[in-house]
Subunit: 241 residues, 2 copies
């Protein structure tokens, strides 16, 4: 089966959660953003084509044969069993998807720290509001979300650093990516936070120590974090602690 991932060129963004799954599984995929270079119109092809019966709303989406699958969590719901990255059993798979959707909620809040007035204006047009939203986010939302995910690992009866059972699943990849992104965006604020969440810190280290993930990060194919993605570093939003 040929997998084609359609996502914006030049940023990790939501596409990275899908890429990490392919990379960990060692399953080949076409990264259309890499292939298309700076040409974003190729990425929008199946969104703009008026003949498409089931068009995605936005990238990322996956093309598998004639099927188009949109929404990051939905792509992973489809892919994970095929990549050997889903837990076993219907109840555990629903639980994994529930965690992925909670990560999705968290990602919206992370994105909105720099875009509180919405995606239609630049950061520079909403800096004052961004400062206010980020203060509330760092004070109350980071502890709430990370406290929850830490508890999930703690309550997992499986062995090892993982969120579900004793084997890595795609949820662990997504969770580690969120930690990596937060540490990029808020390096000063995240230092004391990670000390309070040792299980998440361990999971993050364990994921990025996986041989295939290490190889991917060093491959030159991975886009670096930057100020066009979800996780952005603006010094004014990460004051000294």
């Amino acid at each position: 089966m040929k997998y084609e991932l359609y996502y914006w060129p030049g940023l990790q963004g939501r596409g990275e959660f899908v890429r990490l799954a392919f990379e960990e599984a060692g399953v080949p995929y076409v990264d259309v953003a890499l292939a298309a270079g700076e040409d974003a119109s190729e990425v929008l092809r199946y969104i703009r084509d008026p003949k498409i019966e089931r068009p995605p709303f936005a990238p990322p989406y996956l093309k598998v044969g004639r099927q188009l699958i949109g929404q990051t969590a939905n792509i992973l719901l489809y892919l994970a069993p095929r990549l050997g990255l889903a837990p076993r059993g219907d109840a555990a798979r629903l639980w994994a998807h529930q965690l992925q959707l909670t990560i999705t909620d968290f990602l919206v809040e992370i994105h909105d720290t720099h875009h509180p007035i919405g995606p239609t204006l630049y950061y520079e047009e909403q800096k004052r509001e961004a400062k206010r939203r980020t203060n509330a986010f760092l004070a109350e939302r980071i502890p709430k979300f990370l406290g929850y995910f830490e508890r999930v690992i703690e309550a997992n009866p499986g062995r090892g650093p993982w969120m579900i059972g004793s084997k890595l699943t795609y949820i662990d990849l997504s969770m580690a990516q969120v930690i990596a992104g937060l540490e990029y965006a808020f390096p000063k604020s995240m230092r004391p936070v990670m000390r309070k969440h040792p299980r998440l810190a361990r999971l993050h280290r364990a994921v990025f120590a996986r041989p295939r993930i290490k190889r991917y990060v060093r491959s030159g194919r991975q886009v670096s974090f930057n100020e066009t993605g979800i996780f952005r570093h603006y010094a004014e939003l990460d004051p000294p602690r």
Copy 2:
């Protein structure tokens, strides 16, 4: 099978998407918010209990036997086939879930019109930012989302007013609820918008003309829209057109 829905008392919110599915299917469920009255602690029972291995992050969540299922879209993914409200076939079910997740994204943006600085402050503490976010939302996001959903109905080869195939699915219930909520929140702004989206207007009418949905709306059990939910009417956010 006994279904128990845990959600905040006193508002439609995200719980309403699950209630509409039960009501249309005519399948009995325990609405814990109604049973518990104003006592929100009952709703938080399985979130707070430290012995729970797979705790939900937030309401709504569904309890089925010993299984707890969180995240609105995930609850519907689980429930819809059991209630006879899912389309047939794996590809169509994935497509339905993809649409539900796009509705979920839209709901976050609708909510954030009155809470752009985040859920930790009251509306009264972020009124200026809310006005700015709402302006951008009405000008650019409403047309983008509703234009997309209108196109989905148009591209559906099935007969009738529905989004997928020729039979009502849970997606239609959710879509109609979003229209109802937007018309409550922004009555002036939505009038010209609905004229431009006749297929969505027709779907909305068709859903609320279903006998069981009509009976539910008239039953006295449905909470009215109000200013504690996702869809809030603040006159200052809905200027004359």
